[in-house]
Subunit: 418 residues, 2 copies
């Protein structure tokens, strides 16, 4: 690699001394820029940006009493709620819908009564549909679908809350297209949760800009799809408004990458005593997502088959957030076990499934499989989510949230609980 | 076109009534999200985003007395200074450096003494270098280099001002990669100046996030280049730190797209009386940029060879901002002249040059050429920029800005003049 960015970084950090003529040209550009800015201050786009920047006011964030301007609030809440990588996942969409959509909904509904479930569901459904339309090709190319498709979904939620017209919605999706971004290359760094926050921020800000009369090319979103390896799969829109693909969302019951869950579920049925090798068969799509070999951080461990299976085999609770806390030190017993784990990528295994084969010192072999898509009733799912929420934040707060969602002032109630 | 986005926009605006079970699933996700957000509020990335959101404070913007949070200030000033499309252009870079870099510099230097020219120049130089590295292929694919490369340049300026280390710089360029965006498809809408504002905002926010300990993949910027049709031209870094490519920046002396200027300069030497046809030979790269045939807005007219030449031929001052004011109505005499303009795209004409051929009723033919790159002395350029600035904002303010740039408190002085 030519290390283009490294060379630039080194230069800037070194504080070079430029040619005086270069400084003179920059001074000209500063004068020219000031003149253009002062002369442009009454242009419609200038007035629109000033109005939009304050139109949303301030909103609450997790972990602080202070309110933040809505764009920042959306960014903070997106990053915060995705920090643990413990939030919901939609496998067909290949993304985490709630960490983008719900910061948007809360940024705009924290201080007003009204239904928050419908805008949230609309936004999540649009994220899923756009994600399917962008398709597997977009994700495999390197884009972080949670953020890219999520920004469009977040805009749908915000636009619905603000009552934008269909034409404003089209332009708004176009405006979002200029800002949709997020790379899978960030996985394992804080920039992964930041991607969710940036998408939520882009969505909120775009909706307020459109409401304040900013214009954009309504076709830009489709052009963005073409430019970002989008599959342009129009079957993604089949029965939109009738079938709700968001119903297939999965909730996490292990505190690590969702790609590891089927293997952990399968392995949990196996005897841990006296095992000599563990072989996991899983779909090849996970090879670049969660197969870090020897991560030395808790964040890295959340993306490592070998590490989480070794943790589970040595009795560490992989559902406990604290098991992945930093500084992360895998005990020697787990390190030894990690070397006994083999990962086999097999196209015949679906993305939501895994098969775990275990051999034992006494010659036994055991094989167990699990598919996360195996249907579960709504009430079983509700009970599991409630139990998880109670474990994370206490039963009283979990019950209060559940209760608020049945009423019409959920926004302010949830805001008070952040 | 399948009109995927239009169908989604119509659905969201219609406010559909979802299946009660879909609502129940969304309620589960809201509970789950609240639990993840509350549990994640002390994670390093959560703390970093909260700290970064306030670390920059507030900054001034063009056209208002109120201060705005720095991210918004950068967005507003980027959009405002690019609103008239009258700002500087770097042809090799294919972008407008100042409208991204200077909002970043002002967001962070508006209230402190110190040299603003060096960080501005460093940022502009990095924008130009990154733009050359992304290359023509990136621009031709559909990306708005002003914004995409500009975000990296803006980050360089901000990182230098904040004193980030070389390693922080690398990670910061990686963080920017998740947010670099902007499509040429927005040309002719307000989203074009918004792209500059979004890039400036991304740059300022990324620098504050990195300063507050957010991490990112330092290789992400190079991956972004691969994913966005980047040419990966490493000659873009030749003699970086020694030669300053920003010295080749052009300032605009006509209030329309820079692609039209060489033709207007050439045409300005021709006799306007009794002309029957005008033929412009120009580089094919401008065909998709500024060849709108019959625009009905002033913004559209700024991207139309036929319109601006017809305006010039009928005595309209194309250097006057008011000539492109909305509502835009081309006088009938200009409409008739527009139909006499023929554009010929010719690879033999460089991108900065144009040749104009005029025929007259009395049988005369005249041909004139102009190349914007024809060298001009520094003092000639300074005089022209000063004259333009004086025309836009008055000679006193222009002189005050020029004077401030020679001192060490330019930031506060410029802020007071916004």
């Amino acid at each position: 690699m030519a290390d283009v960015i490294g060379r630039i970084a080194d230069l800037v950090a070194s504080g070079p001394t430029p040619d005086p003529d270069a400084r003179a040209v920059m001074e000209m550009s500063i004068l020219d820029w000031m003149a253009c800015g002062i002369a442009g201050a009454d242009e419609p786009v200038a007035r629109a940006t000033r109005a939009a920047a304050t139109a949303g006011g301030c909103a609450p964030v997790f972990g602080a009493r202070e309110l933040y301007p809505v764009g920042y609030a959306a960014q903070i809440n997106g990053a915060t709620s995705h920090a643990l990588d413990y939030d919901d996942t939609h496998f067909a969409y290949i993304g985490h819908p709630s960490v983008v959509i719900l910061p948007v909904v809360m940024a705009l509904m924290h201080d007003r009564d009204g239904d928050i479930v419908l805008p949230a569901l609309l936004g999540a459904e649009v994220a899923v549909r756009v994600g399917l339309w962008l398709g597997r090709s977009h994700y495999q190319a390197g884009f972080h679908q949670t953020a890219t498709a999520g920004a469009f979904g977040g805009f749908a939620a915000a636009g619905y809350i603000l009552g934008l017209s269909a034409q404003q919605m089209r332009m708004g999706f176009g405006l979002v297209a200029s800002r949709a971004g997020g790379l899978k290359a960030q996985f394992g760094t804080m920039a992964k949760p930041m991607n969710a926050g940036f998408a939520a921020q882009a969505a909120v800000e775009a909706a307020l800009l459109i409401q304040n009369a900013v214009t954009a090319n309504p076709d830009a979103a489709e052009i963005y799809g073409d430019l970002s390896a989008g599959a342009a799969d129009i079957s993604a829109l089949d029965r939109i408004g009738q079938d709700w693909f968001m119903m297939d969302v999965s909730h996490k019951f292990y505190a690590c990458c969702h790609g590891l869950h089927a293997a952990l579920e399968a392995f949990s049925t196996c005897d841990m005593d006296g095992l000599t090798t563990i072989t996991v068969r899983t779909n090849p799509r996970w090879a670049t997502v969660c197969n870090q070999i020897a991560p030395d951080t808790g964040l890295g461990a959340k993306f490592s088959y070998g590490t989480v299976l070794a943790m589970a085999a040595s009795g560490v609770d992989t559902a406990d957030l604290n098991s992945f806390a930093e500084p992360f030190n895998l005990p020697p017993s787990s390190v030894a076990l990690r070397d006994k784990v083999t990962i086999v990528f097999d196209d015949a295994v679906s993305e939501t499934a895994a098969t775990v084969g275990v051999t034992y010192a006494d010659g036994r072999t055991v094989t167990a499989s699990h598919d996360l898509r195996a249907p579960q009733s709504l009430s079983v799912r509700q009970d599991k989510v409630m139990a998880k929420a109670a474990a994370l934040i206490g039963g009283a707060r979990a019950a209060e949230i559940q209760c608020a969602l049945a009423g019409h002032n959920a926004g302010p109630t949830l805001a008070a609980l952040m």
